[in-house]
């Protein structure tokens, strides 16, 4: 029987692996970030905004193109699916009307994969976009949740866990933002109104399990959101 205490390295159900973010590891890219979650490492590079859009894209908006490079082997269908997911997610957080008729390219390189690859890639590309100064509506924070046999939800699944679970989900939330007191909002209501940007599920899970995942994911996303905020602040140059 699977117990939540039985996770590798004694991790609890709600405990995330150690995460780290490096600012602009790539000198030539206009913005880049290396995001690590445990042993899963993804490097994202952003080039842009560059003049001109590709054929077929709307010239009244900026367009985003995503290239996903796997760790080994050639790009296949799985990579195309990741590219499409990432493109839709990033399109919803970027302000596309600020620089019409430009292209922003995001290139992702998987350095090592130990589960929760898509959330790690989304976090890396969001950080890279912020470092490059691309105008964003808000930041995106991604987290992977898995559902155990007994209905418990575990966060930040590793590869071994993903193989054994009957279903897991990758969820992307907007970040928790600082704001001056708006008349209608209160802290708790504000949280549940934040909404979901992207949700990719694998396997079969019940409605209740899915909503459980969302709740746990939302709570954990505020931790990652705070971490992203301190990382962005920590790396600003001193002369500013």
């Amino acid at each position: 029987m699977e117990k939540t205490e039985g996770r590798a390295e004694g991790r609890k159900a709600n405990q995330l692996r150690k995460y780290a973010c490096t600012r602009n590891p790539l000198g030539r890219a206009h913005g880049s970030a290396r995001w690590e979650q445990g042993d899963t490492v993804v490097v994202a590079a952003v080039y842009g905004p560059r003049p001109g859009t590709r054929k077929g894209e709307n010239p009244e908006k900026a367009s985003i193109e995503v290239v996903w490079k796997p760790m080994t082997g050639q790009s296949g269908r799985q990579e195309k699916e990741y590219e499409m997911t990432l493109k839709r997610t990033l399109q919803s957080i970027c302000l596309l009307t600020v620089h019409p008729n430009t292209t922003t390219s995001v290139v992702l390189q998987v350095m090592s994969d130990d589960g929760s690859l898509l959330p790690c890639a989304i976090n890396a590309s969001c950080a890279a976009l912020a470092f490059a100064g691309i105008p964003l509506k808000h930041l995106a924070v991604a987290i992977g949740c898995g559902v155990l046999e007994n209905g418990d939800v575990i966060l930040d699944t590793s590869k071994a866990e993903e193989k054994q679970l009957k279903s897991f989900a990758h969820l992307v939330f907007p970040n928790s933002s600082k704001s001056v007191d708006l008349k209608e909002s209160q802290q708790k209501d504000g949280q549940s109104e934040r909404g979901l940007i992207t949700s990719i599920t694998h396997g079969v899970m019940s409605e209740e399990d899915y909503f459980n995942c969302i709740e746990r994911g939302l709570a954990a996303s505020s931790r990652i959101s705070d971490f992203l905020r301190t990382t962005l602040q920590k790396h600003t140059p001193d002369y500013l």
């Binding site: 842009g48 003049p51 430009t102 912020a130 490059a132 964003l136 930041l139 970040n175 704001s179 905020r229």
Partner: protein, 239 residues
């Protein structure tokens, strides 16, 4: 009287990230607020779109200060551009922004159809941004507001390199930044800094050029205090 007092954001001089709401306009009536880079209005709130420090210039101008490799053109900035193409009416100039800038062939002092300057591809130009909005290509000019040349135009010889926009702003700050002051005491050189993150250095001897450019490139990561000691170390190595 509540409506007359300008509402000041609680986050001035704080670090903000995209999505933060810095002002709520529902309380304010009949007041003008000017928004600079990195901010946008969303119904009744002002939201941040780029990560950086929120600044306020009294009485009512807000902007987000950050440092990037790319440049967002804004009017009255002086930039260093590189010619990439020539057309009958304009030179197409790359200023490290989202789109190429146009430099009309007549916007030089005493410019007429008969004495159009011949700029080849790759020429470095020091110019002023005259028109900049998100929809059109930005427009440059090699004249100041009165119509005089005022040091705008082609920069010959020397060495060009790229920096971030924040470093360029620091080099142009007044009073003179400690880096340039310390270098200027010992070496003779001339320098042109574009707010778009391009710097041109020229000096009689190549070693001076290399020293100055290396000192500037390395100060990306130093604060004002450390810059002076870094320059002194560099100069000591030479002597």
């Amino acid at each position: 009287m509540e409506s007359k007092k300008p509402l000041r954001s609680a986050f001035v001089d704080d670090y903000v990230v995209p999505g933060d709401v810095i002002l709520d306009l529902a309380d304010m009536t009949n007041q003008t607020i000017k928004l600079g880079a990195g901010l946008r209005q969303d119904c009744d709130t002002i939201q941040v779109t780029s990560a950086g420090r929120l600044r306020l210039s009294k009485p009512n101008k807000y902007w987000v200060e950050n440092s990037q490799k790319r440049y967002i053109p804004s009017v009255e900035d002086t930039v260093l551009g590189i010619v990439v193409d020539t057309k009958p009416d304009n030179f197409l100039v790359d200023i490290k922004g989202p789109s190429l800038a146009f430099l009309p062939v007549l916007s030089f002092e005493g410019g007429t159809r008969r004495n159009i300057p011949k700029f080849e591809i790759g020429t470095l130009i020091y110019a002023r941004v005259v028109k900049a909005n998100s929809i059109m290509n930005p427009e440059l000019s090699c004249m100041d507001a009165i119509g005089k040349a005022a040091e705008f135009g082609q920069l010959k010889n020397g060495y060009t390199f790229e920096t971030s926009t924040g470093l360029a702003r620091m080099l142009l700050s007044s009073p003179t930044c400690p880096l340039l002051e310390a270098l200027g005491k010992k070496l003779s050189f001339e320098i042109a800094v574009g707010l778009n993150g391009r710097v041109w250095v020229n000096a009689p001897s190549p070693s001076n050029v290399i020293l100055v450019s290396e000192a500037i490139k390395q100060s990306e990561s130093f604060n004002r205090m450390q810059q002076r000691s870094m320059v002194e170390k560099l100069l000591a190595k030479l002597a």
